[in-house]
């Protein structure tokens, strides 16, 4: 890659912050490749396979021992619908992409961690075979996202063992076949929370309760109803977890009802904190690229603020389903292919700026009216139950788009057709994404 100027472009806390250089970094000679993809999950692998159709040399570095990302340990079905046009389980889906990447002669490196950027804009990796400095022409960041753990949610109390996230629960149960517990409380009531319930019950763990601070559950009615009927799990809405109790192992969680203020405890040996997605943005911020809230800011073709650096998957929309991440990876691959062909890089464009109660929007920047974003959609999330009301895209006082919504659900994918952005003035100010409740 060409040396990239480091623009003071990081807006996370208002100004540029540079990490101090690590001591003693010893590296070998540069390893050339057209594209280096960081992350071997659905987005990274789908991008790699697509890029090979454009005859680029592609290397994927994956820090885990096997390829496939999160779907490796989500046993339930429903994967592959939008991208592979068939339905399979998470591990099958992970396996499928690993096979496709292998067949496409992608250079695949597992147990290989991208630890930092090299001074000339390449990537430094550590693996059992040593430290390598990659000199790619383009980098795709596809590092995914994770769930916010208990500590980051500032849930007070003791610090016993038995406090998990869905991710660690599924790895314990399905990847490493380790015992989990006997009686669990699940915190959260979105899609992933029901995935956690599925894992727990499949391994003989009783689910004592599902607890959400929202007034209603946020998954599909059919999933919720089936779970309730099959496992008879009580759901407590508008309820906070206010303490975890237990000395060595969890003994109970203390709950508080937001409406009545009542406190009560539920005995359990396991607590699973679900959802609360945090993109794995460390590498992005170490460059640094401009951020849009917790995500790297990307335009409609998944370009970051740093020329030659692209981002896709749940790093830019934490969290969508795996197939949506994979389709984003393919989109990024086409964008990278064009960059490799003509070296063109757009100007900064205009930001798409969400305001409360909208949490984020993706793409978060627009640099062209003609380039269509992934699936022709502007994705977003809201922070609470909304509706009825109107979702509006506005630029300099002009309404570009307005749509009535009877109800918007937090933690659920919401989108607006990107055609509504066609009239945006790329020389104008930012596009505001606002919600107007109907009075």
């Amino acid at each position: 890659m060409e040396p990239v100027p480091r623009r003071p472009s990081w807006t996370w806390s208002g100004d540029l912050v540079t990490m101090r250089p690590a001591p003693g970094l010893a590296v070998g000679p540069d390893r050339p490749v057209d594209v280096l993809i960081v992350g071997g999950g659905p987005a990274g692998l789908a991008a790699a396979v697509e890029l090979r159709r454009h005859l680029a040399t592609v290397a994927v570095v994956e820090r885990e021992r096997s390829l496939g990302g999160i779907p490796r340990h989500t046993r339930h079905s429903g994967y592959g619908l939008r991208d592979l046009h068939r339905v399979m389980s998470g591990p099958e889906y992970a396996e499928r992409y690993a096979t496709l990447a292998e067949r496409a002669s992608v250079q695949l490196h597992v147990s290989t961690t991208a630890t930092d950027w090299s001074p000339d804009g390449g990537i430094v990796t550590t693996s059992p075979s040593g430290i390598v400095r990659w000199a790619p022409r383009a980098v795709l960041l596809a590092t995914g996202c994770r769930e916010r753990p208990r500590a980051a949610r500032l849930v007070p109390g003791d610090r016993p063992s038995g406090v998990l996230t869905t991710g660690s629960l599924q790895q314990f149960a399905d990847l490493f076949h380790l015992p989990v517990g006997a009686r669990a409380v699940v915190v959260g009531a979105e899609h992933v929370s029901f995935s956690a319930i599925h894992t727990l019950t499949a391994h003989g763990v009783a689910v004592a309760a599902v607890v959400t601070d929202q007034p209603r559950t946020q998954t599909y009615a059919v999933l919720r109803t089936l779970t309730a009927a099959r496992h008879r799990v009580p759901v407590y809405t508008s309820t906070d977890v206010v303490a975890v109790h237990g000395t060595e192992r969890v003994s109970a969680v203390e709950l508080a009802d937001r409406r009545s203020g009542a406190h009560w405890s539920i005995a359990c040996d396991t607590v699973v904190f679900t959802g609360g997605w945090v993109p794995d943005y460390e590498l992005a911020r170490r460059r640094p690229v401009a951020m849009a809230g917790p995500h790297p800011s990307v335009d409609q073709w998944l370009r970051t603020s740093s020329p030659g650096v692209f981002a896709a998957g749940n790093l830019v929309h934490a969290a969508e389903t795996a197939d949506v991440a994979a389709l984003g990876g393919r989109q990024a691959a086409r964008s990278i292919a064009r960059y490799l062909a003509d070296g063109s890089w757009p100007g900064p464009g205009i930001d798409i700026v969400p305001s409360d109660p909208i949490l984020w929007a993706q793409p978060s920047r627009l640099t062209s009216n003609s380039e269509r974003p992934t699936r022709g959609r502007l994705l977003m999330r809201v922070g609470r139950f909304l509706g009825p009301g109107t979702l509006e895209l506005m630029q300099a006082g002009h309404v570009l788009h307005a749509a009535y919504h009877w109800r918007l659900v937090p933690n659920r994918s919401i989108s607006v057709a990107s055609a509504s952005l066609a009239a945006a003035d790329l020389g104008g100010g930012p596009v505001a994404l606002v919600w107007h409740a109907r009075r």
Binding site: V17, A151, R159, S168, P179
Partner: protein
């Protein structure tokens, strides 16, 4: 020569394997003595030692003329030298004492004088412009400050582990899960009863921290009562590290050093501690009020900090007493030294305390003869200022497991995990492994790696699944 003669007992029993106890044990291991450390918990350094601010204090604000001030001063060069020799992560970014109101500003001169009286050099007033030049992200409203160049940060777990490993390597026995139930003076030797069996020892050193008053009473004294003071702390993400360069201290009060913001040797930023009097000596839970109070203080000290993710929260208890100073007493006739009331400076003062305690023992009649040989130790690098294994080309070439990162947030390699499990003082729980390697203590708190680490523990036969202890190993067996 280790005395074996007629007596089968130990020369010295040190009660408590916190940083103070193991520092004393390490000092004793330099001499021809049979020493045993009796620890109630299943690892070293699990009480006050593990949950604190990890600040390396100069003692600039200690009470002049106090034992605390003297021992902090004595410890300073000893710890600097020892950390460099053994690889304990220790950095000296210096501290900025920040005054936020006129009253605090007026106290700075007195604090500078106090620092001089305590023999702490390199203390300078800092005008408000310079303060913001040095810490551009400091919250608005600061009026001035005092720079204390010698204040530092250190690893609160590598330190006791280094002391304990060195003691162990040089013949000291460390008995874990061995709380002291009773102490009988059977004329000549003490008979100390523990659930792991009886121990005979001629001399007793009480370094029992939060329980030092209990032990002191078992020895027939009533000199102080431990009044635990809880400190809750919040650790912020490594991405917050560039926000602060020095330790940001508040102006101390009589009760507490106050809430500070400090970098850690692991590259995080720490906010805390609270200071709450609690009755229960095991009340190490965090509270909603405590955390909310810290977040509010953090917002005024360093507003940008709150934009970053929280990595961990925890609470520890300081072994405060009704006395302001350390409670170190030597009872010659009893062949007993009490080391109590080491409230919040134990990590920094431990080597000074150890040297002083061994002098007290010698003055009281313990015969000290330097051991003919003594082995030093070298600890694995876990600090960000050190050459971590994942960045060490040569280490990876020698052992490829140093190139396989298992804990992604803290960049802990399989080689380091295996190394910790095979070390002389191997962990017996996953928490012990975490403290030694930092695995699982990063921002994801085990989302990615906890199962892999547990599986590794299983593989190694340690079977230290959370909550269940592995069988005691040879080193733990009492006599």
């Amino acid at each position: 020569m280790r005395p074996t003669a007629a007596r089968s007992g130990y020369d010295v029993a040190v009660i408590g394997a916190g940083v103070v106890g193991v520092a004393i044990a390490r000092e004793l291991s330099c001499y021809e003595l049979r020493t045993i450390v009796l620890e109630a918990c299943s690892d070293v350094g699990t009480g006050t030692t593990k949950a604190n601010t990890a600040i390396r204090h100069t003692g600039f604000d200690a009470k002049p003329g106090s034992l605390e001030a003297a021992l902090l001063r004595r410890a300073y060069p000893l710890l600097t030298d020892y950390a460099a020799r053994t690889g304990i992560p220790l950095e000296t970014p210096g501290a900025l004492l920040v005054a936020w109101n006129a009253e605090q500003l007026a106290r700075l001169d007195a604090l500078a004088t106090q620092a001089t009286e305590n023999g702490v050099g390199d203390v300078h007033p800092v005008a408000v412009d310079e303060l913001y030049a040095r810490e551009p992200r400091l919250g608005p409203g600061a009026l001035g400050g005092l720079a204390i160049a010698g204040e530092g940060i250190m690893c609160p777990f590598t330190t006791p582990l280094a002391f304990a490993t060195e003691a162990l390597t040089n013949g000291v026995r460390i008995a874990l899960d061995a709380p002291v139930r009773s102490i009988q003076d059977s004329g000549g030797d003490y008979a100390i009863s523990t659930p792991r069996g009886p121990v005979q020892a001629r001399w007793v050193v009480n370094a029992a921290g939060l329980y030092s008053d209990f032990i002191d009473r078992l020895m027939g004294h009533d000199r102080f009562t431990v009044r635990p003071r809880r400190g809750q702390l919040i650790v912020f993400d490594k991405l917050a590290r560039p926000l602060v360069s020095s330790i940001l201290l508040p102006v101390p009060t009589a009760v507490s050093k106050g809430v500070l913001v400090a970098p850690t040797v692991f590259g995080n930023v720490l906010l805390g501690p609270t200071a709450e009097e609690v009755d229960d000596r095991s009340a190490t839970e965090t509270t909603a009020d405590g955390l909310a109070d810290l977040m509010a203080k953090g917002r005024s000290i360093l507003p940008a900090l709150l934009d970053e993710e929280v990595t961990a929260t925890y609470a520890g208890l300081r072994a405060a007493t009704e006395h302001a100073d350390y409670q170190i007493h030597c009872d010659t006739a009893q062949r007993y030294v009490c080391v109590g009331g080491i409230r919040s400076t134990g990590l920094s003062a431990s080597m000074g305390i150890a040297a002083y305690v061994v002098e007290l023992l010698a003055d009281a009649g313990l015969r000290l003869r330097r051991a003919a040989s003594h082995h030093g130790v070298h600890m694995p690098p876990v600090g960000e200022s050190q050459l971590r294994r994942f960045r060490d080309t040569q280490a990876i070439a020698t052992n490829p497991a140093y190139g396989e990162i298992v804990c992604h947030c803290e960049r802990v390699t399989r080689g380091e995990l295996v190394g910790a499990l095979e070390a002389p003082l191997a962990p017996r729980t996953i928490d012990g492994l975490r403290r030694r390697t930092r695995a699982g203590l990063g921002r994801c708190q085990g989302f990615y790696c906890s199962a892999a680490i547990m599986s590794l523990l299983d593989e190694r036969g340690a079977r230290a699944v959370d909550g269940t202890r592995a069988a005691p190993t040879e080193l733990d067996v009492v006599r």
